[in-house]
Symmetry: C2
Subunit: 323 residues, 2 copies
């Protein structure tokens, strides 16, 4: 099942169910006004939403056509956004380049980021200056229902209700300054973006494997190929990330947990999901990072299609603009 | 003006205006259902709430008596909670004890914490195990209306609408492990608590000085005095903290920004607002931290009264319980 949120003037928008091909929608009227509301009552909302999805699939004449401009992030704001950093090839390269200690391997890395707004898939990123080192980060994320404190990874898997595709915007000139304090990032992390469709795990078929998204994410910068990276090789599964986050706190329904920027060991062949990694490779290879960060007016596109090449999360297409 | 939130089964509770002596309240019906709603329309809500407060003050027979059990945190959940660490005496001591670099002095330290729930003033803290090193942190915080990206400190002062008193619970066994990653804290920071009354800055009179709360916060652990610490000596004002947070992001209305655990240079005389600091002093003095962290069943009390000794934020009285 595919879910989206249509802008209606309210910060949470209107929840809709989307056809598998991503072209038509029907409002979830009578089931839940917003995705947040649905997450809070998932056991009741899910079967009703699935029934609606079935009706939409059964007759191509039903529903309304999706217009890109109407699409907000499927969850336009959340009470909690926790982002991991689970791809070792990225961590090892960055540690080497920035001469930092290798991160611990016995527990996930995770920070809490701004969740009061997620950009829609076609929204401009608004930032103050190019000097901050504007970068994208292509990744996957999950949305949970309420997770009790102390939930273990096996149980946590059952709380993963939706999968989303995320662009975690980063300001690289500020990131190391903030990281050095040990307090995590405030200025280095503007609001993130989500691809238009949140999907239930079954929608991925065999590509939802070991609590990971085993699908290639294609990233383009100014319409040029930048990377086609496999989401699978996470050092910790999403279920393990959920359990990590729930160790000393209950997770509120609608919590979003991210994988961190996707990275593959053969990044020289497949490319990267963020500019920082390409610069890290250049620095490691030649002592000089030649690729600049983004300029105002630049665009980034991200899309992960299903195993049969079908539309899954839809696409992120964003431009960088000055605030 | 004093504001509180009464539990009504809804996660955001019901907004009420409270008499200056903290004994009576009247619902803000027709003005705003919740404090979050009021923060989003502060320019309209504030004068209406002040008028209600005037009516309540004019006639002691008006309003209903406040019952402690009904009091939630004034803002029971927020879209964003950013906590500073602005007391240099604390930072210097902790750096020395944990053999870390001194934090930078040219920019505030700040992390993003869990904002999906704030404990009410008399709620038990629920944590999984004493082994995590359960500690309180007494501090002040501010609630802002919407702050545009790039707002400077002078303008930021105008966005500080309410002042709150906070207990920022910490799990000290986990804090250094997470801090070392540079990603900030997830497991080390359970939900915080707020004293019952949020107050407008004018309520503090001369004690709201240079964007700081120049009032003593009294902290008791198991009814024994633990510290009476002055909120004033912040290295950065609340306005500077707001501007720091808004450098690359718009702050949503209802953003809560904290001072970090209060600490005074003469901590040996006045005591501390957290156990970690007392242990740090012991470690510095004798090479051994003798004071243990909290046990299940322990209580902490915190209160900052006004310049004339009057009730201001009300009191936090919490017990630690096993989850």
């Amino acid at each position: 099942m595919k879910i989206a949120t249509i802008r209606n003037g309210d910060p949470d928008g209107q929840l809709v169910v989307v056809s598998r091909d991503g072209t038509r929608f029907v409002a979830a009227t009578g089931i839940a006004r917003t995705l947040q509301e649905a997450m809070e009552n998932w056991s009741i909302a899910e079967p009703a939403l699935r029934q609606l999805a079935g009706t939409l699939e059964a007759d191509v004449a039903t529903g309304e056509p999706i217009r890109s401009a109407d699409l907000a992030a499927p969850l336009p704001r959340a009470w909690q956004w926790l982002d991991g950093s689970t791809y070792l090839s990225h961590a090892v390269l960055m540690s080497r380049v920035f001469r930092m200690d290798l991160p611990p391997t016995d527990r996930p890395l995770m920070y809490q980021g701004a969740s009061d707004h997620f950009y829609g898939p076609y929204d401009d990123l608004i930032v103050p200056t190019e000097a901050d080192g504007i970068d994208f980060e292509g990744e996957f994320g999950v949305v949970t229902d309420e997770v009790p404190m102390g939930t273990d990874a096996r149980q946590a898997a059952e709380h993963i209700r939706l999968i989303v595709q995320i662009n975690d915007w980063s300001l690289r000139a500020l990131a190391p300054i903030e990281m050095k304090t040990g307090f995590g990032w405030i200025q280095a992390k503007p609001h993130c973006s989500m691809a238009p469709f949140a999907v239930t795990p079954d929608e991925l078929g065999e590509a939802w494997r070991d609590g990971r998204v085993a699908l290639p994410l294609e990233v383009k910068w100014n319409a040029e190929p930048f990377g086609v990276v496999d989401g699978y090789p996470m050092a910790f599964s999403f279920a393990e990330l959920v359990a990590h986050a729930a160790r000393t706190r209950k997770l509120v329904a609608g919590t979003v947990i991210g994988s961190g920027t996707i990275s593959n060991e053969n990044y020289r062949e497949v490319g990267s999901a963020c500019i920082a990694e390409r610069r890290g490779i250049e620095l490691a290879d030649s002592g000089e990072a030649r690729t600049p960060f983004m300029s105002f007016g630049d665009t980034v596109e991200m899309e992960a299609r299903g195993l049969a090449g079908e539309t899954l999360f839809g696409r992120i297409v964003q431009k960088v603009a000055q605030g």
